[in-house]
Amino acid sequence: MNDLLAAYGNLIDMIFLNSIIAYSVWLTLSANMFSMATGGFLSLGAYTCVYLTMQHGLPFFAGAAAAALAATAVALILGLPLLRLRGDYFALATLAFTEVVRVVALNWESVTGGALGIFNIPKYTDTAVLLIVFVLAVYFCWALEHSPEGRARRSMRRDETPAAAMGVNIFTHKLALFAASGFLAGLAGALAGHLNYFIGPNDFGLMRTIDALAYPILGGVNSLAGPALGAAVFTIFPEFLRFSNQMREIILGAVFVLAVLLLPNGLTSFRGFRGSRRRERRMGVREKGGG
């Protein structure tokens, strides 16, 4: 049993880490923002935390908090101008942000070590820490979802105009969610930085961002379980296809395309979209009714 745990320990860690990232992405997707800034926030979080712990001797939790706050601040600054942009332009502008962060990381050698990366990073992130952050992230999203905020967000995802006419401040709302997404991604970055002894600028590029977007989309944006389910499937699946690099990519690509074609609302919609909605509604009503 112990051996099994040791053999798959990193896999379990990665499932939790990717799930946290998936909830960060979900916060933006669920408000109709296709943000590709995730890679940039992860990178920012990882470098901030590793820099503070290794070069300034800060304890891990302080470094992680600083990383999360730094990413939040950047999200706020970035969101102010970018959230005015229409859907695809917003997506591409956030992608540009992620790429600029990567280039900066490649050149800012005193902090990031450039392409050489940073090695011999102390391993502070263990399964327990990841589990705690994962649970907190899920709770955060759950609490938001089951509150007036969640109702406002679901409404504006559906149609922004009537939501605004009912008094929902769309811009502030999106900015707050974008900042919250930055916070979670920054925190996840800090955890990733201290997970595998080494980080480099290419760890958090376009590919990482796209995978992160795929988790909640594969799992289902309409459900709170979607992001975690998508992240878990996406993380475990390649382990079964260890035999060949290229076949793995082909099978992964084909399975993903098939999955979204059959279940465009994500894996969590498997039992039929209507059924899950009824269940959610029942949950919501009980929640409100039970004092």
Binding site: R84, L92, A93, G253
Partner: protein
Amino acid sequence: MTVLFQQLVNGFSLGATYAVFAIGFTMIFGVLNLLNMAHGAVFMWGAYIGLACVADLGLPLALAVPAAFVFSGLLSVSYEIVIFGPLRKKEAHRWIGLIASLAMARGLVALAQMIFGTHVVRYPTVGLLSGYMEMGGVRVHTLQIVIFGIAVLLMGALAFMLQRTRMGRAIRTVAFSPRVAELAGISVRNTAFATFFLAGALAGVAGVLLGLLFNAVSPFMGETILLKGLTVVILGGLGSVPGAMLGGLLLGVIEVFSVGYVSSAFRDAIGFGLVFVILLIKPSGLFGQTEAARA
């Protein structure tokens, strides 16, 4: 001065391939409102098919280019059949198409690795094209001129087709509004096929051109150019064909000049930084139409 002119030549020949690639990318967006992230994979397959014609079948280049054109066009149409068409029918959110096309691209890259190998390969040298002229220390290769010519020719043909032919009118009507098009008796489905075919065919030829020009064909070439294509369409305005042509040339020159006169280490940051600044100043791209015109 010599260096400046040499850099301009470098920039234009690089930019021409960007432009041919980006035109299809922006067309699919303009007509069908889709971001097709598998456009880079078509580009890469086009380059390999062209190469296979030349190297394995021994065909002349003049036949390899049309072969790549047709093959890539059909491959691109397969995206519509496999991904975008069914998703449109299911009224799925457009992100799903975006992510699904990325998955498709990854699969196609892996398939190319299996078939063609992971290493970089090259087109055989064509004697006729390997010459160059030198004017005041600036070298312009025959190949660069030919490629620039092909690029301009393709762009001109596309512009003519869009403006003057029935199919072009159909494409422009669907771009204006799919509902209006259906009322006018235009099949959105067939127009989507035509758009994907043209877009893919141009990307495939761009792949051959880039492979010829820079002596390198690899399974990963599509990923690099996709990022460039995204930059180009923002420079030119999403959905604008003339914008993509100008934007492509512009990006080529910007890249070369940022290497030449700023720093090669920040070349990509300058490209993306520019995207950023442009979007902040003009939220629909440098040459983009206003929103009312697109809606």
